[in-house]
């Protein structure tokens, strides 16, 4: 079987395939492994890739054909929400089809990989809509339908946006203050055994206590709720960052320091050029952990004392039985926390390229 028949520009000229697998690119190998699919299987694959669009159609039909049980103003909002991802998917699929014709099948495989999940999401949305708007079977009125959530969010957009900004401000200030403090204590304690002697007991005693326990105390002692919340969130992220940094730095094989000294590194360079880069995996892991503590602490602070932010928004509208707005805020929180953890992941990937054997 020859794999050199196609006209893909990305592939080296024919010849490699005639001399066995040596000289084969990764792409060629993957393609070769795909070859043994039967025509029926290929047709099934092709059908699978359009399933998300079909499922979107099912969701739309369900939305428009089944009669509503409750009043549903501005129905087009949910329609738009359904159509945007479907449109994006359709465009990606069209591009992958064009590239497939040109011999590049990688995009198509990616779409094939995505298709079942996208299909499932649309089907779940259709079922959800049926269980809420159409029948109210799903704990009405506590769980609203998607269009109701959209209506709630859009009608209260300025408040929601402002709350989001408050939350982000609190999270950012508290988190970065905590990370900075954690780096400082972790690095100094990891590097100097005398500082470690004094830091360790503090960390050991205070560390395991969930920081939210300090909220009542801090609200009384500190001048403002805002400063108090920043302090609590900082405390929550300080602990994991300190522990992780300390571990990372104190576990360095001294041979690295010897090697660096022999190459002319000064004491300062030993810290910044050897100790810190070496501890980077630990530091980033501590930062991830610190972020999750910070998020929990943020929400608790906002739900119990602070009179702003998404946590406050959620409790406030729960008390008003305005569940659609409550859910809108929860969804915004979901998006924020996901974005934050995604960002941390990207930083990790970039900073720790050397760990995964990723070359140039």
């Amino acid at each position: 079987m020859s794999v050199s028949g196609s006209s893909a520009p990305s592939r080296p000229a024919a010849g490699s395939s005639e001399t066995g697998t040596a000289g084969m690119t990764r792409y060629e190998l993957l393609e070769l492994e795909q070859e043994n699919k039967t025509p029926a299987r290929r047709a099934l694959d092709a059908f699978l890739t359009i399933c998300p669009l079909l499922a979107c159609g099912v969701a739309l039909l369900e939305y428009y054909l089944v009669p509503d049980k409750f009043a549903n103003p501005n129905p087009e909002r949910y329609t738009i929400l359904l159509l945007i991802p479907a449109a994006i998917y359709a465009i990606l699929l069209a591009v992958s089809a064009v590239r497939y014709r040109a011999g590049d099948k990688q995009r198509y495989w990616k779409m094939l990989h995505r298709a079942p999940l996208w299909t499932a999401i649309y089907l779940v949305l259709a079922v959800f809509d049926y269980a809420t708007l159409k029948t109210g079977a799903l704990l009405y009125p506590f769980i609203p339908w998607v269009n109701d959530i959209l209506n709630g969010a859009i009608s209260d957009l300025p408040n929601l946006a402002l709350s989001t900004l408050y939350s982000l401000r609190l999270l950012t200030l508290g988190y970065f203050a905590g990370v900075a403090a954690g780096l400082l204590t972790g690095i100094t304690a990891g590097y100097s055994s005398r500082i470690r002697y004094w830091i360790t007991p503090i960390v050991k005693i205070l560390g395991p206590i969930p920081p939210v326990i300090w909220i009542p105390l801090v609200m009384i002692i500190l001048p403002s709720l805002f400063t108090g919340s920043v302090f609590i969130i900082a405390l929550g992220s300080w602990f994991p960052v300190t522990i992780a940094t300390l571990t990372g730095i104190s576990s360095i094989d001294p041979a690295y320091f010897d090697a660096a000294r022999l190459l002319g590194a000064t004491e300062r360079q030993l810290i910044f050029r050897v100790a810190i880069p070496h501890a980077m995996p630990n530091i980033l892991q501590g930062m991830t952990q610190g972020m999750s503590t910070a998020c929990i602490t943020l929400l608790t602070a906002e739900m119990t004392g602070v009179k702003a932010g998404l946590g406050w928004y959620v409790t406030w509208f729960k008390n008003w039985a305005s569940y659609n707005r409550m859910f809108a805020a929860i969804i915004v929180l979901c998006i924020i926390f996901n974005a934050v953890s995604k960002a941390l992941d990207l930083i990790k990937k970039r900073a720790l390229r050397w760990q995964n054997g990723g070359g140039s």
Binding site: A255, Y256, D258, L263, G264, P277, W354, Q355, G357, S360
Partner: protein, 251 residues
């Protein structure tokens, strides 16, 4: 003008206070040596005879308890790129690429810009140009040790200290590296001091073998190796040297 050797050890002793007991370990005791430029000296001996301690003393990583070490007539007070050292483990910084590892000393000294060309040349010399952007985790043992050697050699040290640099390599890589190190030494003419467990390696590579004894670590004998350039591991003279050294080590 009196002659100053490149390296002079004057009644050097190093003792460590033990952590577990009240005893003291006399790692090396009363060692005097004079080493000249262009020599290739191998330190051999059983483990615990203080070979590595001696090398670390010369490097300046630790200070002698008594006695003095002079490099070019100046006392050794700390590590310096002028006395480069390669360990048994390559100890490459895993977060830096091959190229960045080799350029580490320039980066520390803040002279990377003017030395870019040197780094490129070194990469060519050790044959790792295609791997310059790879991380140490992707290299084989022999390649990593070659990078470690390059990282040290690029400072053009007057004294090259090798602490069993080939100990962790497989037999074939090891023999290739022996030849490579010898040819580096040939072209640079520096003083090389190498610690090894392997008597064959010592005879094959050095111009002088220093045999050490343990408890306390001291010099038992010194044997100049007079085998010329072309060395064959099975030649009668080679075998004779080897047997003599093994005899001195009580084997």
């Amino acid at each position: 003008m009196p002659h100053t050797p490149v390296l002079k050890l004057d009644h050097v002793s190093k003792s460590f206070a033990r952590v577990d007991t009240n005893d003291i370990t006399h790692a090396v005791s009363d060692i005097s040596l004079e080493l000249e430029k262009g020599e290739f000296v191998c330190l051999v001996g059983t483990s615990g005879c203080g070979k590595s301690t001696l090398l670390r003393l010369i490097a300046g990583l630790i200070q002698p308890t008594m006695g003095q070490i002079m490099a070019n007539g100046k006392p050794v007070e700390g590590p310096s790129p002028q006395r480069g050292m390669v360990f048994q483990q390559p100890t490459l910084f895993p977060w830096l690429t091959v190229e960045q590892n080799i350029a580490f000393s320039f980066r520390m000294a803040g002279t990377l810009k003017q030395n870019r060309a040197k780094v490129d040349r070194m990469l060519e010399t050790i044959g790792l140009e295609p791997f310059r952007r790879d991380y140490p985790g992707q290299l084989s043992g022999g390649m990593a040790q070659r990078v470690a050697l390059a990282r040290t050699l690029i400072c053009e040290p007057e004294i090259l200290l090798l602490d069993e640099p080939l100990g962790a390599l497989d037999a074939f890589t090891r023999m290739n590296m022996q030849d490579e190190i010898r040819s580096i030494w040939h072209s640079s003419g520096q003083l090389v001091i190498m610690v090894t467990h392997d008597v064959d390696e010592a005879v094959y590579m050095s111009t002088r073998v220093v045999i050490m004894e343990a408890h306390p670590g001291r010099i038992k004998a010194q044997i100049p190796i007079d085998l010329g350039e072309e060395r064959h591991r099975s030649s009668p003279a080679f075998v004779e040297y080897r047997n003599r050294i093994l005899g001195l080590l009580n084997y």
